[in-house]
């Protein structure tokens, strides 16, 4: 085994933060999905929560089909938020260290009660306008990065593969245009 320095350099350029944090994080995302699936048979996606939660406050017929699942979807989402907090309280705070975790330099860190929290530099208008389109698009398109991208692709669903290819291609184009227009961060 001789490591090729040209290949190593190319990998360092394409993966400036390594790949282990991505791979380990992905395994955990998959594991969370599997836990729920093993016990319940449900391949859980994250975006249906938006419509199912709206059924608590709106009597529009579109939302009523999610009344049966809205309670557990709320629990699932609360778990995701708490999982993010658990990550912040351990790895992000330096309480747990691992060679598999590359901290990165984006955004800003701040501390509350000994827990290192993180905040984005991406402008609020981008998050808000992007959020509106995400809210419309995932619901019309029947899924998001977890529903289509993880559960659907994991199910070898042609519909989900088409969905993922569509949103991945369009997102890359959009981000390139936005960057070319000089919008940063």
């Amino acid at each position: 085994m001789v490591t090729d320095p040209v290949l190593l350099q190319a990998a360092a350029d394409l993966f400036p933060n390594g790949i282990s944090r991505y791979a380990v994080g992905g395994l955990l995302v998959g594991l969370g999905t599997v836990l729920i699936y093993v016990g319940t048979g449900i391949p859980a996606g994250a975006s249906t929560f938006l419509e199912s939660t709206l059924s608590y406050v709106s009597d529009q017929s579109r939302f009523q089909q999610y009344v049966a699942s809205r309670d557990w979807r709320l629990v699932f989402t609360a778990g995701i938020v708490l999982g993010g907090l658990a990550f912040a309280a351990t790895v992000q705070s330096g309480l747990v260290t691992s060679s598999l975790y590359e901290p990165g330099t984006t955004g800003q860190l701040y501390e509350v009660a000994g827990v290192t929290l993180w905040q984005t530099d991406v402008q609020p208008w981008r998050l808000f306008v992007g959020g509106i389109l995400v809210g419309i698009g995932t619901r019309i398109g029947k899924g998001c990065t977890s529903g289509h991208g993880v559960c659907g692709v994991g199910s070898a669903s042609k519909t989900s593969l088409a969905g993922v290819l569509t949103f991945l291609t369009v997102a890359i184009g959009t981000a390139q245009v936005v960057a070319a227009l000089g919008v940063s961060p």
């Binding site: 599997v34 449900i42 999982g83 959020g131 398109g141 659907g152 994991g154 669903s157 969905g163």
Partner: protein, 152 residues
């Protein structure tokens, strides 16, 4: 479906925690990192999405061979298959513009709130607004269109 096993919600909760921890660890809860991928500055993101898809895919393939039904619901183990129609492409494209503009998708946005990113509330407010707008519009149209929607 209303009276499910007492462990149903606790399991969903624990699954959500592991899911959210993974989104934090992978930095998908950071919009900047997603945008860096979409601009080809850090190609790590597919390791998250496809890594997770491989792990869940193994379970989706194996479980139906081992058991007939899930212990907490009695539901059969099935793959996640949704009917294909034009909406998948139209909705996917709209989602793509939003994802490319903001670097945020639903699951990662919830986890982002957990890692302390209070600014993400702008994205969450936007998502609910967008989901409500499409629901309002489709509720109107659905009244005329009696065909049942796909199961979920």
């Amino acid at each position: 479906m209303s009276d499910r096993h007492p462990l149903f919600k606790p399991l969903v909760f624990v699954g959500g925690i592991v899911f959210g921890f993974g989104l934090g660890f992978s930095h998908m809860a950071r919009p900047e990192v997603v945008l860096n991928f979409l601009q080809f500055e850090d190609l790590g993101l597919p390791f998250v999405m496809f890594g997770a898809a491989i792990v869940s895919g193994i379970a989706f393939a194996l479980l139906p061979r081992i058991r007939d039904a899930a212990p907490l619901t009695g539901d059969p183990y099935e793959r996640r298959l949704k009917p294909f129609d034009r909406n998948v492409l139209v909705g996917g494209a709209v989602f793509g513009v939003g994802w490319g503009l903001s670097g945020i998708c639903p699951g990662a946005a919830y986890a982002s709130l957990g890692v302390g990113n209070v600014t993400i509330l702008w994205a969450l407010a936007g998502m609910f607004l967008g989901a409500y707008a499409q629901g309002y519009w489709r509720s109107r149209n659905h009244a005329r269109d009696t065909a049942p929607t796909g199961a979920d």
